[in-house]
Amino acid sequence: MTGAIPTIALAGNPNAGKSSLFNALTGARQKIANYPGVTVERKAGHASFADGRPLSLIDLPGSYSLTPSSPDEAVTRDVVLGQQAGQKRPDALVIVLDAANLDNHLCFALELIALGLPTVVALNMLDLAERDGLTLDPERLAGELGVPVVPTVAVRRRGLSELLAALDHEILVHQLETHAHPAPPPTDVALHRRARAIARAATLSETPVRRWTQRVDAVFLHPVAGFLILLALMFVMFQAVYAAAEAPADLLESGIGVLQQWVVGAMPDTVLRGLIVEGLLAGVGAVVVFLPQILILFLFILLLEASGYMTRAAFLMDGLMAKVGLSGRGFIPLLSSFACAVPGIMATRAIPDAKDRLTTILIAPLMTCSARLPVYALIIAAFIPDHAVGGSPVGLQGLVLFGLYVSGIVGALVVAFVLRRTVARGNSASFMMEMPRYQMPRLNDIAIGLWQRAWIFLRRAGTIIAITTVILWALLSFPQAPADGEMRQVDYSIAGRIASGLEVVVKPIGFNHDIALALIPAMAAREVAVSALATANAIDAGDDEEEISQSLGERLQGRWSIATALAFLAWFVFAPQCISTIAITRRETNGWKWPMFMVGYLFLLAYAAAGITYWTAVAFGLG
């Protein structure tokens, strides 16, 4: 063996448990990036053989064959063939098979084995297969396939060391042998016959078990009950985001307040103190406070995905999505977009049809992402009374939040309907998908997923949001307003004057100077609107201890009408204010045409929605 670290790729069908195996092998030692030139996620990590020699692992996108039907399946093919830019050909393959689904998963396995790389098969999820009444013979399977077969239960960490030992051995043997050229691939029908024959040979006994999952599905996939359950689940999810996050968010908020007062007490009154208290702490703090809500939302999404429910949701939604020219496959990227449009748009790569995919990308920003939560949460807490609706346990605040989410969804469906009949006209989308079995989500996988999301959010708060906040603070603090108190500092500053210009445009839809000021830096990211309001208000409050102790919401209450607050909420249902989303759309659609189109149509919608909301509210006497 040379000194180079061997690279081993994990390949297999979707739902074979590849990611769990990858997590079990690498633990937290993993890195998610993109393959150069494409936006398919490259998951790489490190592990070591029993004697401590390191190896590098990559987790390839799940695929049915070496003939790709979507961009991420193309990456799998290119990597194993050594044709992927920026990725050397793996030294060995681990083919992950779902033990309970051999006849199907063996087709892709046979194609991969024919490539002639050192290969080990991980016969994964053996426990679930046994639960389903299936007894397999791994040795017989190894004999038929001509490569070692190691039974694994990734989620229980069973078979991992045996798997690594078998790999080590295969790589060594491979180097000593001379190799015949790989056999030409058989046709897909022949491949399936062979796969089924092998699966039958390796199956010792098969008891037909009336699976409990079918009874569960009879309810969850019921045309009416199933749909109501889906709605209820989503409702609970959004209520939980609001209710369960309250205590930790309050704690974070008061912590930041204490920190601000401590800095005010400990530092002389200089520009630097202003920058720290009014700029960094007020601005970044106002966003970090929403970490608990974002984590709760991601927790739900990760649980739904890991349990296998997400595909059921896609099944239930497909009929509705077909009516607007999309497919149920689009539901998964769109639901991810509730957390963040960026991973949502990246997840559209699993949609095979180009026009279906484009439409899904264009409407993804209409799903209420977590960056909008800080804005919604602030305004709702300040302007919507905190009481139950008609004696029920449903809170009015939660209901308004739910309404905002629904507005985004309805807006997205209408936009998709129009786009599919105009700029994104094409074949009717298809929807062919494997339905995974239900599984108990593993704490470890969920924890890794949550940690990655929290880290991305905090890094954003620490970089984009901190920088824009500091720039905004500077623009708000200079030039200093004359001491005679004729004009507020917020109005006198450079930012205040720019905002006054913008105010002319947004005044008809009920926006005031505060909002005009917040909208500009919020182009970087929506949640900056909150930090901008916080910074502007902190500067306004100056060192007044009483005003500092007042929450941002309390201060806004005194300055905005309810109509203005509602218009502000409506604006953020549609506004395309996120540089990351625009950038990812440009990359995914290979040019500026579609991101520009997206920004244009979203601003128009936002303006109209805010206007209609404002005028309606004023008509009802809320102005």
Partner: protein, 85 residues
């Protein structure tokens, strides 16, 4: 008796008698085969649609459940298992 899968009753196992590949695109046909949907294979349609439509169709093939739309199901001709035996 020959029937189309898109109108098959739910919960009854049937056998695929013929697939009209002409009605399917190349990719659709390939994906069907990747799911193991081929002539002679036994399947059980299980769930169909939701509140809004009678599509898609979820069916069991082997030990796997897959989802297809009515358009693909309409290209699949099925026969009762007893009749074929």
């Amino acid at each position: 008796m020959i029937a189309k899968l898109d109108s098959a009753p739910l919960g009854t196992p049937v056998r695929i008698a013929r697939i009209d590949w002409q009605l399917l695109s190349h990719d659709e046909g390939r994906r069907l085969r990747e799911f193991g949907l081929m002539e002679g294979v036994e399947i059980t349609p299980l769930h169909r649609g939701s509140l809004f439509s009678r599509e898609p169709l979820a069916l069991v093939v082997g030990r796997m459940q897959v989802i297809i739309r009515g358009k693909q199901a309409a290209a699949i001709e099925i026969e009762a298992i007893a009749a074929a035996a």
